[in-house]
Structure formats: C-alpha cells, structure tokens
Symmetry: none
Subunit: 362 residues, 2 copies
Amino acid sequence: MATEQNDGLSDSQESFSDFWTTTFQIPDLNDVDLEGIELAEIVKKCEEAVPNENVKVETPTVLDTDVNIVKKEFVKQRPVPSQIIDKKVPFLCVESFSGEHDFQVVFPHDKSPITKCIHHTYSPDLKKLFAKMGERCPLHFTCASPPPPGTVIRAVPVFRQSENMMDIVTRCINHTLQDKSSHEATSHFIRAEMPDAMVEYSNTVHGRESVTVLYQTPDSGKENTMLLYRFMCNSSCPTGINRRPVSLVLTLESDTGEVLGRSVIDIHVSSCPGRDRTGEETKAQAPHMKKQIKKRFVNKRKHEAPKEKDDDNDLYYLPVKGREKYELLKKMKIALDLEELVTPEQKQNYYAQEEENQRSIV
Amino acid sequence: MATEQNDGLSDSQESFSDFWTTTFQIPDLNDVDLEGIELAEIVKKCEEAVPNENVKVETPTVLDTDVNIVKKEFVKQRPVPSQIIDKKVPFLCVESFSGEHDFQVVFPHDKSPITKCIHHTYSPDLKKLFAKMGERCPLHFTCASPPPPGTVIRAVPVFRQSENMMDIVTRCINHTLQDKSSHEATSHFIRAEMPDAMVEYSNTVHGRESVTVLYQTPDSGKENTMLLYRFMCNSSCPTGINRRPVSLVLTLESDTGEVLGRSVIDIHVSSCPGRDRTGEETKAQAPHMKKQIKKRFVNKRKHEAPKEKDDDNDLYYLPVKGREKYELLKKMKIALDLEELVTPEQKQNYYAQEEENQRSIV
DNA sequence: CAGGCATGCCTG
DNA sequence: CAGGCATGCCTG
Ligand SMILES: [Zn+2]
Ligand SMILES: [Zn+2]
C-alpha cells in the first residue's frame, strides 16, 4: 500500500512524460502560460503550413524561438508547457522507402573485432545498431542521385513497441539535469556531431525531438555520406527510454520539408554494445537454450574459432509407439506451437488466474 | 574524449551534490541569493546556539522556515542555495553509546521465512538491516530508564565509507522530482511513519537531512518502542546513494538537543532485500568460493494441500516419476492451458505456416 | 513469489 | 579490455 502513493516510487516500463509537466509548479511565474500559448500558436501555424509531420525550420532566427529551445530552457528553469511534452503524439511513420534518389542507410562491414564495450557495432542478423552512450557513432548514407540543394537528413528516435509508439523519446531526467554543458539541446536523446555541416535541433509539429544535418555529397573518393551522431542516454535509462526498444527514423527531406526518402534502423544504446550484440544474436539463434557456454569475448591478443549449434530450427523425428500416445503427443506438439502465438496480455491474464486458483485451493 | 565533457554522462560512485547548485541558473530570480543569505544566517545562529551538530527545532513555526523546507521548495522550483547543499559536511559521529538510559536499537528475532523480496530483514551476522524501498520498516528501541519528557529519536543516514562520509545522504534526482505527493520532505531519504507520534523533518546545522520522532514509552505489554520508517530510495539509486554503503545514525536526544545515546546500524535498501541478505551472508562466509549451490527461496505455496471441486473444473494430481518428465509435462500443461487462449485467426495463420513448413521439407 | 535475465559498472 | 558482480525488474 505504501508504494501505491504518488511518491515517486512507481517504476517499470512506462512513460514518464507526465513528470515534465507536473513537477514544476511555480505560481509566481504566470508569464509561463502566455509563452505556452504562443508556442501552441506557432505549432499550429506550422501544422497548417506543412501537412507533413516534420517541420523544417527555415532560418536560425526562427530556430531560436523553436519549441525545442523553449523546452530546453523550461526543463532547467521553468515548468514545461503541457502542450509540448505531456501528451501522447501520433505515430511517426516508420516505413522505409528509398525514393527517387534511392536514399539508404548502409553499414560498411567493419573488420575490427567486436570488443565488449566497442563504441558502435551493427548486427546484420538483427538489423540493429548497438552503440555506447555518449560516444561518436557514424552513420553512412547513400543517394543514387544528388538531392536538391538544401536537403537535410533528419533523425528522430521512436519507440518500437506499439504500447510506447505514441511517447516521445527524450533524454532521461538524470542526464538532462546533470548536463551542465552549453549544448543547445541537452534534453535531446540524439545529437549530431558535425563540425562542418549545419546542424539544427528542432521538434516535429507533434513535439518529437529531432536533429537535422544538411545533406552533403560524399567526400571525394567516398561513395557515401558519413554523419556522426551521439546517443545521450542508455536504452535502459530510468525516466527516459527505460529499457523500451527504440528505432531511429532517418529521413531525407527537401528544404520545403518534403520527405524524399526514409530509412529506419533499430538501435540499442548501452555501456557494453559488444556484449549486448552477441548476447542478442545468441538468444535469437537459440531462444530457449540454457546459456551453458557463454559467449566469450576474445582478448585481442588471443585467437579462437568455435561456433554455436543452432538446434532451435532443426527438425527431429520422434518415433512414437502406439496410436493413442501418438495422438496425444501430436496434440501436445500443436499446443506447444500454438503457445508461442499467445500474446503477452493473454499470458498475463492466464498467470493472474493461475495465482487465483492456487490461492483458492488452500 | 567525448565523455570527458560535462554533458551529464559522467557516472560511477561519486557524489552528485554538485548538481543541485549548478543545474538551476535563473538570472531573473535575484531574490534567490537574498534568501540564501538569510538561510545562512539562520544556520549560523543555530550553530552558535547549540554546539552539538544536531539542532532540535523548537517549534513547528520555526520548522516552517527550516532550511530543509526551503531546500525542498528549491529542489522543485528554484536553485538550491549552495551553502546548504553543495558542500562537504563534517563527519557525523557514528560511535554507538547507550548512555545513562541504556538506549539501544534491537531486532527481535523474526520467525517468518526470508522471502526474496521481503520488506525488511535484519542480518545478525552482518549486523545489517536489509529493507525494500518505500515499504514500512519497523525499528525497535529500548531504554532501561525513561528519558525526560520531550526526548526524541533522531534518524540521520550517513555514508559508511571514508570517501563519502562528508557527503549528505539525500534522495536521488529521479525519485525526488517524480514525487508528486504532498509529503513535506520529498527530498529526504528517510521518512518516519508514525500516525500517533510527532514527527519532524529538519536538517542538522551542517545540512544533513534528518527526521525526529517524539520518544514514547513502550506500549503496555511491550518491552520496546517501535517506530516505523520508510526508505525512499534504493541504495543503488543513481544520483542518490548510488550504491555507496550507508548507515543509519539513531540518537536519543533531549529537548535541548543533548545526545543521550546513539546507535548506528548498517542499512541496505533494494528491491530484493531477502536475496541481497542471503547473498551477502554467503559471500561473507565463503568470500572466494564460486557460487555453485545457489540459495533457493522456498515458495510459500509449494507444500500446501489441495481441495475438492466438481465437474469440468475438478483438480487432479498427476504423479510423475522423474524430474525431466515432470518438467516437460508441466510445460505441456501450461501449453494446453494457453492453447485455449489462441484466437481462431491465430490458429489459421499457424496452420497455414505449418503447411508451408511441410512443403519445404520435401 | 522464486528464477533468472539485463545491464551498469567494478576489478584485475 | 574481459570477467563477472550487483541489482532492478520481467517471466512463468
Ligand atoms: Zn539517461
Ligand atoms: Zn532514488
């Protein structure tokens, strides 16, 4: 009962966006509301002007009054306007399409060994990028034909699970408030680190935080455009991503905000990207096998060769003597297969009911 | 190099008290400094008046202007005055002495089994109290002779390691800011839950957060005084205790602030106090032994007896010889139960996929 | 409610 | 940098 109170002790995989609005209550700062309304009007204007969810902020001057900047200041100093943060927002389109310029995110094969805490590593099997918080992480883009001048690449993080897709991915409370750098977007989960390219932090009309980088043709001799990003929270951060799976939506956008192409990649940010990659790959290959032989990271100086056996998809033939047993086990086999189709919600209800039954036995 | 910046990504076992002062920078709230100075003067006065570090706040009226209350408001609304929080404070005396009233903290033997997530459990071997965050935790006190009227029991948490002993134990950022209850001390790590006794939250002259409860003689028939506390953070909380060992200093204090007795206990607050207690006890006994035989927690319901019902909901017991068969059939039973939850649509897809698989075998 | 995973981080 | 612990929390 003690933990039922709203005393900050609730936990688990939920959104904490609620926090941002209700935590700061400053009765003597009434101008806040005024600013909030003004913002809402700005947002409204954008919404009317651009049907696409992504809003390209035209000039740096406008950027200064962008909702994002305002939010950042509010996070550190004032209440966050509820219309910006405290809401479920519409799904962001996560459907990849390369478009007329054949826009794609590519991961050049990295020959260096996957150390446990490698800064970034991409798993082709899982189609997932594993990165270390705070470290530079390169992403490579290709275009078959050069897009028009002023085209940008926008990065927007989204939650992958349906339960969370309407929540905004943002930085956790701890990391946001502890950030004493002069960065202009301390609340953003993703930053772009391009000394030469123009970077802009802005929000979509619905309030999703994004960063755009001016598209540049590949450096001479290179066949793709490389941008450096930094992920400013772990995927596990409490009050932030909080262990929820996240994808990164990368869009090629014209200077009018038209989406020319879209590419979506799964990402996992942690302190040990190498460990987590191999762990997930192993689990994907042998879901139910007890981790007897734990994947060992090879000390760079040593060498090795062994490989794991994947018996989960192997086909076996079970000889069964007698019709009755065969029929029963056939039923069992079907039940086992069907069991995998049961949704988590169904299972939850089932186990809750089981508990009940156990209790009523006594 | 990226992580060397002050962008909120530093971690490890360090104090975060620095955060409270530098995070909030509000140039247009100059009155803050004034208030800060005023506070400093209040503190100064107390310091001059009472040589002992612990300051008994005389009246509730004074309590309202206590540094603690001010801090709490600042945490949520304004910069925290640096003179209150952002400093190393002198060691608090952690030497136990029972004094003339033979003041002691006692832990009556608890006969109930130590479940994994028991709310509180004391290890006599380790002389350490393991508690679950947010749950009521009783502490029992004894006095050989009744102390004078107005005597209180003060609880102050302190870090046990020398590197941290000068830091103030307080609640983590996440839990403090997420606490939307109307509690008067949302930033405090320790709360007292005494409906009948008088509770006061205050700070020592050096800024350590404490809670005092008016001492009451044991209820008739009881031989000790029981107080209920709640620990509002885990020992692991980032930006809070952050995995650093913590002790609880319990002092019996007269109404003039004189310390009549002191008792110090080690505490560990986590989500699984039972597991952590047995784990630490095991490690203390066999420090270097590999954990081969892991301590098993006994399911309370495991040995309970069945009951009779009727019809299709009858419960039967299937004797199974052999562990492996039992495990398999247990899985089967669950599968059969879950199978009933599968929707017709799911089944349709399943059988279609089965066909596919069959064909691909050939 | 116990088993056990996921994951930050401490150690050698 | 890999091994491995500590610990919140998910699963069955
Ligand atoms: Zn974070
Ligand atoms: Zn906490």
